[in-house]
Symmetry: C2
Subunit: 301 residues, 2 copies
């Protein structure tokens, strides 16, 4: 409590939108590495942290409403290169925003939608096990864990995160996987390996994005958040492929349909939509489900 070094508080936002079964995150990349929308928290302007996040979204993406949720607060030393010895710490509150792909003014403000699997190619198992796992990641993990003889915790961590040696793959453990790879590439003889594992982002924004994806994958199961990402009416196939895109995994069509239709989370509109096969019935979200079931979501596993 002698010489006070302040913290500088900011906001980083992960804005998610889905188009053509590809989950996207909104980024800016004026000079190289993509970064998330972000800005300083301004006590004089922002009555709450959430309103600060909304101001950032409004200013930088033309987004004036929609789903917004606080994710996590990041404050590690050296997370921001503006930090200097003895200077202030740059702390950032991460937010997750869900929006329709077309609600963002991407062009004018310089924002770009990016396929989020560019940054995490090992997270998309919709077309089978991602080949980068066996080609690059698993060998790196083996070396990393072997290098730590005596430290069984490291091997255990890698096993749980990446489903090694028969452990199950948990699609929510996005951050745990990213952190294994991050440590592996900074602390060991596989230095900088992470440079070849997915595209980099500015600062610690890839970590923030990993946090967001993991959170969203979990939340979809017990809260009706998918509906923020699709149109007001949709076919069950569209709903399914959106859930698959976010979760990075394939689901069984007939079972998905049964689960969703019988849970009361959606209702028929009566309309149909033409496809290249049999026309599909359209549905809409049914808000009353919130009062009927304790944890209404897409209860997939």
């Amino acid at each position: 409590m002698g010489d006070e070094i302040p913290a500088r508080l900011g906001i980083d936002a992960v804005v998610v939108g889905v188009r053509d079964d590809v989950p996207h995150v909104l980024t800016f990349a004026p000079d190289g590495r993509p970064r998330l929308p972000s800005g300083a928290f301004e006590p004089a302007l922002d009555r709450t942290l959430e309103l600060a996040a909304r101001r950032v979204l409004s200013d930088q993406a033309g987004l004036h409403e929609g789903y917004l949720e606080q994710l996590y607060t990041f404050g590690d030393r050296h997370r921001d290169p503006r930090e200097v010895q003895g200077g202030p710490r740059y702390v950032s509150v991460g937010y997750l925003a869900l929006t329709g792909f077309d609600d963002v003014q991407s062009g004018a403000l310089g924002a770009t939608w990016c396929d989020w699997y560019r940054f995490f190619p090992w997270e998309d198992a919709r077309a089978g096990r991602p080949e980068i796992l066996d080609r690059a990641i698993v060998p790196l993990l083996r070396r990393w864990t072997a290098a730590a003889r005596g430290d069984a915790a490291r091997a255990f961590r890698a096993r749980v995160a990446f489903g090694l040696d028969g452990a199950p793959w948990n699609n929510e453990a996005v951050l745990e996987r990213y952190e294994c790879l991050f440590e592996l590439s900074t602390a060991s003889e596989s230095a900088n390996a992470i440079a070849t594992l997915g595209d980099p982002m500015d600062l610690d924004h890839r970590r923030i994005l990993a946090t967001a994806i993991g959170r969203l994958r979990g939340k979809i199961k017990y809260r009706p958040v998918v509906f923020e990402l699709i149109g007001e009416t949709f076919t069950l196939s569209e709903l399914q492929s959106t859930v698959e895109a976010l979760g990075g995994m394939q689901l069984h069509g007939p079972n998905f349909r049964r689960l969703v239709a019988e849970s009361g989370i959606v209702e028929r509109t009566g309309e149909h939509r033409r496809t290249s096969g049999r026309p599909a019935e359209t549905y809409r979200f049914r808000p009353d489900v919130l009062a009927e079931r304790p944890d209404p979501g897409i209860g997939i596993r």
Copy 2:
């Protein structure tokens, strides 16, 4: 970006321990209202936010290790009375710590364990529906929702949060319930009603505690966090009554036993413990379960 008003960053910790089937939270109450352990974030001392929280726990409760998890960051205007017009905003990162009841040096440092249901008497349904609901809360909610004619959202919120009109009770919705009561007592003709609904805490600490209880009640279902709160070996009855204490609800003994025993989350020690009835086998947590199942917890509903 003209005149910069800074944010002052602090840490608030919810430290939880269970004793005799009563969940407790660690508080200080030197002059009136209980408050949580808290302290300033010091960039010069604290490499990370989590280490700042550990420093606070170490300094104020003699706690030097154990489970610690970031909860949420609170930054609303006027959440801290130190705030003055045009002065800095006091923002606080909330942490949840789980510990054995006896691991805290409560005496010397002035910390006191408090039954957390003192602050939320409506959250404990172990002995049946809490009488405060029908005696005080439901009537207040009815008046509150009636006062907002046309605002169906308010009635819907109260219905979902408190299980009105046949909606189910969700024991995780601790914060949603607290926020209904908070708004009800500040914004309506039932002004100050909340003063009679559970004991107050300093600042917004009751909100932080509500956040913690909700988070813990949810997490217990998919992460092995209960084991941070009980001894290394325990009987299944002890485990059950601890889960019941935290969740504020009763569980069916035989089913709880089967669920827990067959899930592989615990293993027999071979020892027995005497009770006032048949002696009980003791068990211990089985860490390998983390590598076997994706979401190992006490899968209750």
